[in-house]
């Protein structure tokens, strides 16, 4: 590869390791194979009874045994496995990673089984928080205290992989994974480190989390068959499907990677971010923050919109998101918007929430590398208001040089990343 510095005189940042697991399975190869075959990981929830719930499906990760199940525990195990795969692939030592950990994860919280265990220890009869407080300090529940510290997952991973400095746990709702990559990119550009371990993980499918999204009317209720529920860009889309998974990306400065002879998988060329002040769960109707976010990412990469050949959409399949994302794309790309391929991984793996930005970034790197665009499945009823080329239903071979990956979240969070193929 050419210069070690980019168009703005900053270190070029490359991807040298990928690791991933989702409802489609464990490992990058398996995920890519199934994703590009248009397979769905969405299924009926078996983790807990779904009696009385409006939504009874999710793209869960059910194949990992956990000694003490909780969302935090599952998030940690998935992040651990993804990071291990990425670090090994990068050819770096698994216990002495030469840079910081940037971890995207859902807010950590105690769940009902633990709350019930403390309540049970209070004795019989009605239970108040005063009772719980009296009982909690017996020493029996110290493990809950550590497990449900917000910093517990990042600390455990930092310890395990020997990352350097204070690990950062970040939550920017459904943009979290992209935020972790952005933090890593910025740290390398500052010259603070030659490498960064960026992870997004989310194992949030539990009753209360599902019900919360359900009460916000954000989830698809098209429960049968589960694989048909996530319908990004379709006229009959009715919400997203909760999902679990994790991805890890090893970022390095080009100089750092070349010095150790590492294989380069892709280039993280730019990022853009803009917060939205319109509403807690909705985008500004004019789309300005989304437009500015995408435009800034492209400019940060030293490119113009014409250079972008593919968009890995946020594409949740909610009526609102897809409409606003198209508004943004059509504003940034103009007349070219309708012919620019834009597909949604979420049609197959669901919405992996805090992990989505990282998982979809990893898929974007693979898309550029393999010359194959993953499809948007379940695209049967086009929405005339969204004249997109969503790579309907079947993967499409296409060599692309630069791709955009969008992540938008509740709380006005918008982050876009630009990835580039490795120059031949």
């Amino acid at each position: 590869m050419a210069a070690e510095l980019d168009h703005a005189g900053r270190p070029v940042v490359v991807v040298t390791g990928l690791g991933m697991l989702t409802s489609l399975g464990q490992g990058v190869a398996e995920n890519w194979r199934r994703l590009t075959a248009g397979e769905s990981g969405i299924r009926r929830i078996s983790r807990f009874p779904v009696t009385g719930l409006r939504t009874t499906i999710a793209a869960t990760v059910d194949y990992l045994p956990l000694a003490a199940p909780s969302s935090a525990a599952l998030s940690q195990v998935m992040a651990d496995l993804a990071a291990q795969e990425a670090i090994v692939a990068a050819g770096l030592p698994v216990d002495d990673f030469p840079g910081p950990l940037l971890l995207a994860l859902a807010p950590v919280e105690m769940e009902w089984p633990q709350r019930q265990a403390i309540a049970a220890a209070c004795g019989t009869g009605p239970v108040t928080y005063a009772d719980l407080l009296r009982t909690a300090g017996s020493g029996t529940f110290t493990r809950y205290y550590e497990r449900f510290l917000f910093g517990s997952v990042a600390e455990a991973l930092a310890d395990r992989f020997g990352t350097k400095g204070s690990p950062i746990g970040t939550s920017t709702a459904c943009a979290s994974g992209a935020t972790a990559l952005q933090l890593g990119l910025e740290a390398i550009r500052r010259g603070e480190t030659g490498a960064a371990l960026c992870i997004g993980t989310d194992g949030s499918v539990n009753p209360e989390a599902l019900i919360r999204f359900s009460l916000l009317s954000a989830l698809s209720t098209r429960n049968d068959p589960p694989a048909a529920a996530a319908r990004p860009f379709s006229k009959d889309r009715d919400g997203f499907v909760m999902a679990e998974g994790a991805a890890a990306l090893v970022l390095e400065s080009l100089a750092h990677a070349q010095a150790r002879g590492a294989e380069i998988l892709g280039v993280l060329e730019g990022c853009g971010e803009r917060a939205d002040s319109f509403h807690r769960t909705r985008s500004s109707p004019d789309g300005k923050p989304i437009i500015a976010c995408m435009a800034e990412a492209i400019a940060d990469a030293g490119l113009s919109p014409d250079d972008i050949g593919y968009i890995n959409a946020h594409g949740t399949g909610t009526p609102e998101n897809d409409k606003m994302e198209w508004l943004g794309v059509s504003a940034v790309f103009g007349a070219r918007g309708s012919s620019l391929p834009i597909s949604s991984n979420k049609s197959m793996i669901g919405h992996t929430l805090s992990a989505a930005g990282a998982i979809e970034a990893a898929f974007t790197v693979l898309t550029l590398r393999e010359g194959l665009l993953p499809p948007t499945i379940n695209y049967e009823t086009p929405d005339p208001a969204l004249p997109v080329d969503c790579v309907p239903n079947i993967a499409r071979p296409l060599r692309v040089t630069h791709a955009l990956s969008n992540s938008f979240g509740f709380g006005g969070q918008n982050v876009s990343l630009v990835f580039g193929a490795v120059p031949a």
Binding site: A119, G151, T170, A275
Partner: protein, 393 residues
């Protein structure tokens, strides 16, 4: 580092048991009397938030209703910080103000939890019962009032801060890393104007429950941080919101901002907390800023939580530096995520005044010499060690 890329504190928004704003804190610390609520959650004393007129920073009642108290406290403090920096309502500046919020979250509806926990054991089908009650009784807006990143979201909505928005999670370390990243980005030219901070609502049973599971709480009548150690130590939590506006020198000078102090150096790290590990991290951090440190005109504002072993190790380390020290949590309570920003705020106020406030307890020495610098420690009660050097600008 180029002088124009120095990180300066140009705004402070602080609300705590001592009141709101820098002047209220300055006054309260000159004649310190602890503000403690010993009754509401006995036997756990805590520092309650001073009464605030939330309308003053969050004018729309509709916005207030969308927030739980921790978000209201934080949004209020953020407004104060913007006001103090003279940028409140300045859409052009706010559109490129970079925000880093250190957040916990998860305030619950205790009445719903209690009702469900009481009825679950006798429900014929406990799982179905739980689903049904949660579907029926959780307020849809409660979720948004619990989400960690919705403090930042509310600050965007209420105050129009939209340059960028990142939320860090991880107790005390989240607050310290928010300060560190803001300073690093300023030094590297990755931004000129930052709003960083967080909030904590200690007056919640579920918050106390968490730390009580770890047996981290002080359960006797209120005592200051260092005095607690003879009786086993423990944390007294405090409700608090603190935001700082941190700005490059070039940017602050160009807009004629009033500068309170500079953050001349900052380090954060982690360790497994074997005995001596945390002190070794702190010693490395101190060594890295030794060239900037003037021991004769410095004091320490400690973020010590009061938790036993960590506080003892920190005290031994600080005694080795040999400058007067003050434990912020004695006055403010321990506030987790915003505890480090709040300690930096107290340091900035003292440095701006040129003198340290009087001792908060007998274990702290008076300081008569002029104050030009303050070291700020942020050792998490469980993990994470931070050290900053706040100096005259």
């Amino acid at each position: 580092m180029a002088r124009e890329r120095d990180a300066l504190i140009t705004g402070i928004g602080l609300v705590s048991c001592l009141g709101e704003g820098t002047d209220a804190h300055r006054r309260a610390l000159q004649q310190f009397t602890p503000v403690v609520d010993a009754a509401s959650f006995a036997p756990f004393p805590l520092h309650p938030l001073a009464p605030l007129e939330f309308d003053r920073q969050i004018p729309k009642r509709g916005d207030q209703r969308q927030m739980e108290p921790w978000q209201r406290i934080g949004t209020y403090a953020a407004g104060l910080a913007l006001e103090s920096a003279g940028i409140k309502g300045d859409a052009a500046l706010l559109s490129r103000t970079e925000m880093i919020v250190a957040a916990g979250g998860g305030e619950r509806d205790p009445a719903v939890d209690e009702a469900i926990l009481s009825a679950l054991p006798s429900a014929p089908d406990p799982d179905a019962f739980l689903n049904e009650r949660l579907m029926g009784e959780l307020r849809p807006t409660l979720f948004l009032a619990q989400l960690s990143n919705l403090l930042a979201g509310n600050i965007s909505i209420v105050h129009g801060v939209v340059g960028s928005s990142r939320t860090f999670m991880g107790e005390e370390s989240a607050g310290a890393d928010a300060v560190r990243i803001a300073c690093a980005r300023i030094a590297a030219g990755q931004g000129d104007l930052f709003l960083i901070g967080g909030s904590n609502n200690a007056q919640r049973p579920e918050i106390l429950l968490h730390y009580q599971m770890g047996r981290m709480l002080w359960q006797r009548p209120y005592a200051p941080v260092w005095a607690r150690q003879a009786d086993g130590g423990g944390m007294v939590l405090g409700s608090l919101g603190c935001f700082l506006v941190i700005e490059s020198r070039a940017h602050a000078e160009a807009r004629g901002a009033t500068v309170l102090a500079a953050i001349a150096a900052i380090g954060t790290d982690r360790c497994r907390r074997q005995p001596g590990d945390a002190a070794a991290n702190a010693a490395r951090q101190l060594e890295a800023m030794r060239g900037l440190l003037d021991i004769s005109a410095a004091a320490v504002i400690s973020g010590a939580s009061g938790a036993t072993l960590t506080t003892a190790e920190e005290r031994a380390f600080l005694d080795g530096i040999g400058v007067p020290l003050r434990a912020a949590a004695t006055a403010l309570g321990h506030s987790m995520e915003p505890s480090f920003p709040a300690a930096v705020a107290l340091a900035a106020i003292a440095v701006a005044d040129g003198r340290l406030f009087p001792p908060l307890e007998p274990a702290e020495a008076p300081m008569d010499a002029p104050l030009r610098q303050a070291l700020v420690t942020g050792w998490g009660h469980w993990r994470g060690e931070a050290l900053a050097l706040v100096t005259e600008a």
